[in-house]
């Protein structure tokens, strides 16, 4: 197992906000990984640190075992950032030619054009006068220009219609069969589930779950203990204080405590004599947990 990406205890603060809080992860060669999380979860910040565009406040990031800022590393990576930016006064074809010249083993222009589906009439346009979808295609072409081993896509399908989306994922599947390592971010659970072998779920700058999509769905962290109570406020405060409880919420007159260890939570609930009734242990679905995280986020905003 070869580690292509290594993130060790990385934290990033912007002034008082902690965008990413002490995360660690490794990604092995040839895998397709989705970084999933609601807006503001820290996905872009994490990708930017992996790319060496942002310096971590603490911790260390390595690509191919080296500093991401090394030119040898850059020769092997390609990225499409959340905001695709383009140079002015150049035609699309010229931008592609320029980009290809930066790399030691670029893909041929023909290949880039056919992979990204840039039409002849688009190639003749000014690069900074493209529509949103065309800009994405150009961004995709530039990311592939150096025939990279490791690819990053930050929210690649936002603002694309269904056909363009499908098209994009078809190309990604093709890249996957070529053995490339692909890391993408998304806030659509469906996309992460459909196109990755591994989901890293982010919330509030922390990794909440990490594993195969199926495992995550069955992950114990989606289990919960739920009950009704006379004094909801007191019960909730107490349950929230249990170290096994990941978070706690109220829905349809029931209190839910999400946990990895339902047994321990049950034991504590009873041993501390909480006034509870109708206790259930439930196996939640990833969608629910995810919706919850997302809605919690909305509440904050």
């Amino acid at each position: 197992m070869k580690k292509i990406v290594e993130v060790k205890n990385v934290t990033k603060c912007f002034g008082k906000t902690t965008a990413v809080n002490d995360i660690s992860l490794t990604i092995k060669k040839g895998s397709t990984v989705a970084i999933l999380g609601p807006n503001g979860a820290g996905k872009t910040t994490t990708i930017s640190m992996m790319l060496g565009l942002l310096e971590p406040t603490a911790g260390e990031v390595k690509l191919f075992g080296e500093d991401p800022k090394q030119l040898t590393v850059r020769n092997r990576i390609g990225a499409m950032l959340q905001e695709v930016s383009v140079i002015d006064q150049l035609k699309v074809r010229e931008v592609i030619e320029l980009f290809r010249s930066y790399y030691t083993h670029p893909l041929s222009t023909e290949e880039l054009i056919s992979v990204t589906g840039l039409h002849e009439d688009v190639l003749k346009k000014w690069a900074n006068k493209l529509s949103g979808g065309q800009k994405r295609r150009l961004g995709f072409a530039l990311a592939l220009a150096g025939n990279p081993d490791l690819l990053f896509f930050d929210e690649p399908t936002v603002g694309l219609d269904i056909t363009a989306r499908k098209n994009f994922w078809d190309k990604v599947s093709m890249l996957k069969t070529q053995g490339k390592t692909i890391i993408f971010t998304t806030h659509y659970l469906q996309e992460a589930d459909d196109f990755s072998e591994r989901i890293i779920l982010f919330n509030n700058g922390e990794i909440v779950a990490d594993g195969k999509p199926d495992d995550i769905k069955n992950n114990i962290s989606t289990r919960s203990v739920s009950f009704q109570s006379r004094d909801k406020h007191a019960a909730m405060t107490l349950v929230e204080s249990f170290e096994e409880v990941i978070h706690c919420y109220e829905k349809e007159d029931r209190i839910y405590a999400v946990t990895n260890d339902t047994d321990a939570v049950l034991a504590k609930v009873f041993s501390q004599g909480l006034p509870v009734k109708h206790v259930f242990v439930e196996q939640g679905r990833l969608e629910e947990v995810f919706d919850l995280l997302t809605s919690k986020q909305k509440g904050v905003l």
Binding site: L51, G52, L53, K69, L71, T72, R74, N75, I77, G78, A79, L81, E83, S85, V86, I87, D88, Q89, L90, E94, E97, L98, F99, S101, Y102, Y103, T104, L142, G146
Partner: protein
């Protein structure tokens, strides 16, 4: 090497496609030249000398313009639109990127010098010795470097609007006060004394000296080198501070 060549080529293509460059650095100087040597009666005694003198004024005016405006504003634009950040993802080192831009810009200066000189030759049949043409051209090319440094200082600004506003003012003030539009000898004496401290005056003065059969004064070398150092140090200092 291939990357640097390609980058230089496209930097030059981009400059030529920029309508502001064509207007301010080619059209305006040549139009001014035509007006002030053919239409307006300047009352000079020696026509030939004036025509050669004013050709140098307009060539330096042209080159100074693209150095300050084009170079600087481009940098701000690339920064604010995220292109500079995107470039950092490529294996093309930032020093090579900067060097290609400098080299592309200097080549454009050389071309501008050639075009404006040619215009002078065609419009007024300006006749200089071969060595005067060559040395004045070389002087203008090399002495344009402090203005590139000024351009990179403009390039540290955050917003394109501020950068183009500020650089426009600096450019026109330097041109007028440095005697590029009209000779400083017709200025009030305090403005004449001020001009001697301006890089634009010394930029033109070196070329004026050459076409009058002399060579640039040591003061010109000194003042231009001093400004080069100041602008560069400031630009590097501000960049460091922004990146910290």
């Amino acid at each position: 090497m291939h990357a640097i060549m390609t980058q230089c080529k496209f930097e030059m293509v981009r400059i030529f496609r920029n309508p502001y460059f064509v207007f301010w650095s080619l059209f305006m100087p040549i139009l001014f030249y035509f007006i002030f040597t053919n239409i307006v009666d300047t009352g000079v005694t020696d026509e030939d000398e004036w025509q050669a003198y004013y050709l140098m004024s307009m060539t330096t005016f042209s080159v100074m313009g693209s150095a300050i405006m084009n170079f600087g504003i481009r940098m701000v634009q690339e920064h604010s639109e995220g292109w500079s950040a995107y470039m950092k993802l490529t294996p093309f080192p930032s020093w090579a990127y900067f060097a290609s831009k400098m080299f592309g810009q200097l080549t454009i200066h050389l071309l501008s010098i050639f075009i404006v000189f040619l215009a002078g030759f065609i419009i007024n049949d300006v006749s200089l010795t071969a060595s005067q043409w060559i040395f004045s051209g070389i002087w203008i090319l090399i002495a344009s470097i402090p203005f590139l440094a000024l351009g990179s200082l403009v390039g540290t600004m955050r917003k394109v609007e501020t950068a183009s506003g500020v650089s426009n003012v600096i450019y026109l003030a330097l041109a007028i006060l440095g005697g590029m539009w009209m000779p400083v000898r017709i200025f009030p004496s305090f403005l004449q004394r001020l001009a001697e401290w301006l890089p634009s005056y010394h930029f033109s003065d070196g070329a004026w000296n050459i076409v009058q059969g002399a060579s640039p004064d040591w003061q010109s070398y000194f003042v231009l080198t001093a400004y080069l150092c100041i602008f560069l140090l400031l630009a590097v200092f501000i960049r460091r501070k922004q990146e910290a």
